[in-house]
Amino acid sequence: MNYLDANTWIGAWPFTFCDSHTARSLQAHLKRQGIQRALVSPLGAVLAPAPGPANRELLRTTRGLVGLMPVPVINPALANWREELALVAADARVRAVRILPNYHGYRLRAPAVNELVAALTARGLRLIVQMRLIDHRHEYHAMKIKPVPAADLAALLDRHPRLAVLASGLLQPELRKWLPLYPQLLADLTFAEWYDTLNHLREKVAARQLAFASHTPLLITAAARAKLDPSTRSKTERVAIASGNLDRWLP
């Protein structure tokens, strides 16, 4: 099956014993796991005071690496976000940006998010909202970070009904509750889980709203494929979730 991974990262995460990938090592790792293409963002942009340096490194180190599509991080709470967006958008490989409201100290309800949506729409770029990066119960003890409230995402979609958003990191109950209400929303499977994940999701959710995601290197890459490979859903459906839906979503 042809896999397009909606959620991978380069760089180090200081609070766990997960791998730290360069763009090249990530590409090799994903290839070993049978994943041909991936959206990749820089972990260095999550905790740094501004995402610029990590974005620059992402764009530089992914150049020429087949299959890695850079997804820079934008922080609309910073005064320079328009300049940062203009810089990353100048690279023709950039087709989407990722935001992490809970790590960067703003709500999806903030006026700056509306302005970012307008700017992305004008540039023909897509928006990925990282709803959770880590299970908040396991955050480093000094980090008091909660997931982005799903209701805030719903309010964003209410304000922008034609906005194509990829929500990354919703839990199984959140996927079952919110996706049927917002048919324009695409969501990745990073934190989706039930004993028979896909069949359980499909009781409530359309297959076209789901996208394969491994969350490498924070989660075990092979575990993501284990949600799809042994599934009893049809091949057509699994192919759509593995890559087709995200391919269609990207501009």
Binding site: T16, F17, C18, D19, D135, H136, R137, H138, E139, H141, K144, T190, F191, E193, W194, Y195, D196, T197, H215, T216, P217, L218, L219, I220, T221, A222, A223, R225, A226, K227, D229, P230
Partner: protein, 255 residues
């Protein structure tokens, strides 16, 4: 690869599937190559502090799953230690007579509480394994009734002859692994939360391969994902075999 899953809840009211759901879950387990599983009961049914009658009902449901799948399911007897020594001893005796091989503790109380003494004495008397729910309480402020890995260590030191499975490797995390490192009667199951990278390897490095067991926490977790915590790790094939099968087989004295 032979696989024993030491942490499942075939019946879960939250799932609204009932006994038919248990059969469905077991079919799915078999499809993943699992040859035996431990059923722990619907341990949060009704509330976190069930009455004696509710505890009996939970264990009756587990017994029914065992009867329906006699060579596939081992039952663990769920207990609410706050019901007192008489209730605990009576329920353990009732479950042992029906072939249960272990005791399951959830979040009625913290494992360091005095009410655990009759539970552990019963486990020792009947030669049972104790599976204690545990999670790091660093970010969950419920330690009054919710067991942290440090509390499992306290329990294990008080009752060193009782084998204890500390549930939820990912929930316990690095600090939890280190907390029980010197408690040789404690093993850790790999169930719980998303499949965070690096933890299975760290657990084996610190505790040794004999003290880590595969568990899924199905239906809350996907069997395939839970298995990939081990098969998708850097652990060698022999170690994976121990975690997936041999350790549980020896602990539960399965044929």
């Amino acid at each position: 690869m032979r696989i024993i899953d030491v942490h499942t809840h075939p019946i879960l009211r939250e799932d609204q599937r009932g006994p038919a759901g248990a059969a469905q879950l077991i079919r799915r387990a078999r499809a993943h190559g699992i040859e035996h599983l431990v059923a722990l009961g619907d341990v949060l049914a009704f509330s976190r502090m069930q009455t004696a009658e509710q505890v009996q009902l939970i264990n009756d449901e587990t017994a029914a799953v065992m009867r329906a799948h006699p060579h596939f399911v081992t039952g663990f007897c769920y207990l609410n230690p706050l019901l007192g020594p008489s209730a605990v001893e009576a329920e353990v005796a009732r479950c042992v007579a029906r072939g249960f091989r272990g005791l399951k503790l959830e979040i009625a109380n913290n494992a360091r509480d005095a009410c655990m003494a009759p539970v552990m004495r019963a486990a020792e008397q009947h030669g049972l394994v104790v599976l204690q729910h545990a999670w790091s309480m660093t970010n969950i402020h419920q330690r009054r009734f919710h067991t942290d890995p440090e509390d499992v260590a306290t329990l294990a030191q008080r009752f060193p002859r009782v084998p204890i499975i500390m549930a939820h490797l990912t929930g316990c995390g690095v600090r939890g692994i280190l907390a029980v490192k010197n408690c040789l009667n404690v093993v850790v199951d790999t169930s719980g939360a998303a499949p965070e990278a690096g933890l299975a390897e760290f657990a084996v490095e610190q505790l040794g391969a004999r003290r880590v067991l595969y568990g899924s926490d199905a239906p809350v977790r996907d069997f395939g994902v839970a298995l990939a915590r081990i098969t998708g790790s850097r652990l060698d094939a022999r170690t994976q075999r121990m975690l997936l099968h041999d350790n549980a087989s020896a602990l539960l004295r399965l044929p």
